[in-house]
């Protein structure tokens, strides 16, 4: 019988730090286990809260946060605005395709470190001036990574590990400014990078529906949220709508986030605005363009933030400033009357 191994004997190998990037969060799986054992809410009780309350209680200055969705798609915007309103400081961020989310947090001067896969741009919409300034000035310390590396760092944590081997970044400057370690496969000798598990202090995810315990369903692409939900030490869920527990139990195949991962759940209709929420509403490209334009002049931008974030009480207040239900209905039509 064949034995597909190259190495039958004990051997010495080299582990070599590959980059100068810092590891902003502790990858230690045993410490994470202890945290999860002691702090994760295994009690299936109502966890309904409000946005201002969860940001007060669950987001601390200095925390490292992971944001669900994809920049301006299914992004938990209500919580991000509240973080800005409550002037949270020195946050760390997992910047995997961080577009409008990054822009919001930079506008509030909330972050001082970031694992970068993609920042400062809004994809096809162009670059954010304030985001670029924050980074170019050195106000935000960076560790260079990639979308896959970041998603696999979440996955390492979701699996209860302290690292995973990956095949990206090798040979590039991205590697040189990363926090990866060069290693090799125990079976084939192939070269790998190891990336450290990423257990964020807080995960924030916007979903299509959840029950009051926090059991969640998401329609369409998951992006990295399956793993983020499992990796996060504390997890805040905003949902387009509440559904009865019975609704969840009717089709358990659809549950992507079970209640015991969730610390608080809040119903926030249109909670992903001005981003796109699949099957619900399209992104408000006009508003996003207005934001990018406003950034060009500090005075204009201050007014812009005052009008849309600082000057309103809550997310519904923000929605009023952009045209309220009439505008939102236009975006619903744009999302769903696609064959017209």
């Amino acid at each position: 019988m064949d034995n597909f191994t190259k190495f039958n004997e004990e051997r010495q190998v080299i582990y070599k730090p590959a980059g100068t990037g810092k590891i902003f969060t502790d990858p230690d799986a045993d410490k994470a286990r202890e945290y999860f054992r002691d702090q994760k809410p295994r009690k299936m009780v109502e966890k309904v809260s409000s946005v201002d309350r969860v940001v007060k209680d669950l987001v601390n200055d200095g925390d490292y946060i992971g944001i669900g969705g994809f920049g301006a798609n299914r992004t938990p915007v209500a919580v991000l605005h509240e973080i800005v309103r409550q002037k949270k400081k020195n946050l760390g961020l997992a910047g995997h395709t961080a577009t409008h989310d990054f822009q919001i947090l930079v506008a509030g001067n909330c972050i001082n470190r970031c694992d970068v896969a993609y920042i400062v741009g809004l994809e096809a919409r162009g670059l954010s001036r304030i985001a670029r300034q924050a980074v170019e000035s050195g106000a935000v310390e960076l560790c260079e990574l990639t979308n896959a590396a970041l998603t696999w760092r979440y996955k390492a944590a979701a699996m209860g590990l302290s690292f995973l081997p990956v095949r990206c970044m090798l040979g590039t400057d991205t590697e040189k400014y990363s926090n990866a370690v060069e290693m090799e496969c125990p079976f084939t000798g192939a070269k790998y990078l190891a990336v450290p598990a990423l257990y964020p202090d807080v995960g924030i995810i916007h979903v299509h529906r959840a029950d009051v315990y926090g059991n969640c369903q998401i329609d369409g692409i998951m992006i990295a949220d399956h793993d983020l939900a499992r990796a996060a030490k504390r997890l805040i869920i905003t949902t387009e709508q509440f559904v009865p527990n019975e609704y969840i139990r009717r089709d358990p195949t659809r549950t992507v986030i079970p209640y015991y991962l969730v610390d608080a759940v809040i119903e926030v209709p249109f909670g992903g605005y001005p981003g796109n929420m699949a099957y619900e509403y399209f992104s408000d490209e006009e508003h996003l363009r207005e934001w990018l334009l406003a950034e060009k002049d500090p005075g204009t931008f201050k007014e812009f933030l005052q009008r849309h974030i600082y000057g309103v009480k809550d997310f519904n207040g923000y929605l009023e400033t952009i045209g309220g239900l009439s505008r939102l209905q236009e975006l619903r039509i744009l999302e769903n009357l696609i064959e017209k």
Binding site: N73, V120, E123, N147, G171, T174, I221, F282, S283
Partner: protein
């Protein structure tokens, strides 16, 4: 039919996407090229987006690689790890990248302009999924305007791997053997990569473009294919389809 540079590049790029293969694309010109290929040459080309969309019936150009168009009536609405792992497993044939700088080995910079990482002259978005796709897909393509600042001897930051420092360098770095840059399609010519040196080699020049103009617009020495040809200009059918079906609102082709 007359056409602008963007139309030219998209049409030429679309011809390189073989039928029955898989391509991961971003938004913009690459997505237009893939959609055009599906309509004209490769009806069974399968389009994936890195955020999770697999095989959508794209109703219009996506604005984001994660927006709901990218999985409209799709075969699967999956996840970012799913798509990246499909690439890592070797199932994805093509990808398209963009960038601010590219060198003769096809290494691409989309991270920063300047010499000090901590104080860049210009900070750009970074890899996003570009490094992953350039590392893990079999063939990497690029659609880009050509000028000497962009096509430069030494790029300020290697965000995504081309052939790195030349023959064997990808393999030595641990990247999957057999993968690497494939074509660069510019407003002036179509460039491939020399098998032996892994350096850029011009394969065809666009109609009316002189060799000198290409040399002037390149910051390093180009190789020239022994069988250098003139690029076939966009056909009427390609242009009609691109303008009427793929990008009727001229989001992309209006940029040129």
């Amino acid at each position: 039919m007359k056409h602008n540079d963007m139309e030219l590049m998209i049409c030429l790029a679309s011809r390189y996407l073989e039928d029955n293969s898989i391509v991961v694309v971003g938004t913009g010109a690459p997505c237009a090229a893939a959609m055009l290929a599906q309509r004209v040459y490769s009806p069974r080309l399968m389009i994936m987006f890195e955020a999770g969309g697999i095989g959508p019936l794209l109703p219009s150009m996506p604005i984001s690689v994660g927006d709901s168009r990218t999985f409209y009536r799709a075969l699967a609405a999956s996840s970012m790890p799913e798509v990246m792992e499909t690439c890592q497993r070797g199932l994805v044939d093509y990808t398209f990248l963009g960038g601010a700088q590219i060198d003769q080995y096809g290494n691409i910079n989309s991270t920063m302009i300047g010499t000090d990482y901590k104080k860049p002259k210009v900070r750009l978005p970074g890899s996003g999924g570009a490094n992953d796709l350039a590392s893990l897909c079999w063939k990497t393509m690029m659609i880009t305007p050509q000028d000497p600042k962009r096509f430069t001897e030494k790029i300020d930051f290697i965000t995504s791997p081309g052939y790195l420092t030349g023959p064997g360098a990808r393999e030595e770095a641990g990247l999957p053997p057999g993968s690497g840059p494939y074509k660069v399609i510019t407003n002036l010519c179509v460039i491939g990569f020399d098998e032996e040196t892994r350096r850029m080699k011009v394969e065809s020049t666009h109609p009316g473009i002189e060799k000198e103009k290409i040399i002037e617009n390149t910051g390093f020495e180009l190789l020239w294919d022994d069988n250098l040809t003139i690029s076939d200009p966009p056909s009427d059918e390609e242009l009609r389809c691109l303008r009427e079906e793929v990008d009727p609102y001229k989001y992309i082709i209006g940029r040129a």
